[in-house]
């Protein structure tokens, strides 16, 4: 599990590159890092780039739903980018396809 943060795109956008496998164990760590960054920079748009995520189970869905709630509370939005077919399948099952841009 590894996370890359890009704060320099524009002041309203926080890009988080998730790397590795997302399960119950790694989601808890990712949640802490992402929430810390969001609370620091209060972005309008949180982009989760999942190009380098090869595996995700329903704990990843919990992670995404929680971050979506957090962004709504801040008056912002959550966007998911570049899911691989395996991750896409889980997102579809959870009804989260509309977040993929």
């Amino acid at each position: 599990m590894c996370i890359f943060i890009d704060r320099d795109r524009d002041p309203y956008t926080l890009v988080v590159y998730l790397i590795g496998e997302i399960d119950h164990h790694t989601a808890a760590q990712m949640r802490m890092i992402i929430d810390g960054e969001v609370e620091n920079s209060l972005p309008r748009r949180l982009i989760l780039d999942m190009e380098k995520v090869g595996f995700m189970d329903s704990s990843g869905v919990g992670l995404i739903l929680g971050r979506q709630r957090l962004m709504k509370k801040l008056g912002g939005m959550l966007i998911i980018k570049n899911p691989c077919p395996a991750v896409h399948k889980i997102l579809k099952l959870a009804g989260l396809e509309e977040l993929i841009k």
Partner: protein, 146 residues
């Protein structure tokens, strides 16, 4: 039943073993040369079942064990994931999509939904106070030599 091959694995119900469990199962399945999609489905279903043991089975107890038995007959995989934890009072409710007993922990309530969509068959047997056994059954497609 007459198995072609099998393995047994016992691990403590710790979250850091979730990745190990699905890696072990998918490494064993590799002998049948599954497709990338089949392998990814196996990993997803196993991850959900093992996570249930970690999150739910041994709550309010000392960390217990997860017993994984995987066997192969022809091209059918039987993956049995068993715990000796608290058991499930109402299996039907537990298997409803979006139902979770732990919404405060950001559980999506999709564990069984993922298991069912990633396996041909999911069997759940549970006795409150004794434990739960989930069996995932999947028949892999025939691979023809080109």
């Amino acid at each position: 039943m007459n198995y072609d091959n099998y393995f047994k694995l016992t691990i403590p119900a710790l979250s850091r073993n979730e990745g190990f469990a699905r890696a072990a199962v998918s490494a064993f399945a590799a002998q049948l040369d599954p497709t990338v999609e089949e392998l990814s489905d196996i990993k997803s279903a196993v991850s959900e079942a093992v996570t249930n043991c970690v999150v739910h089975a041994y709550r309010n107890m000392a960390v217990g064990q997860i017993y994984i038995t995987m066997s192969i007959t022809d091209r059918t995989l039987y993956i049995k994931i068993k715990d000796k934890g608290c058991g499930i009072e109402d299996i039907k409710r537990a298997m409803e999509p979006l139902y979770t007993s732990k919404p405060e922990e950001e559980r999506a309530g999709l564990g069984f939904a993922v298991m069912e969509s990633c396996s041909d068959k999911v069997r759940v047997r549970s006795t409150p106070g004794k434990g739960t056994t989930v069996t995932l059954i999947t028949t892999l497609s025939k691979r023809e030599l080109k």
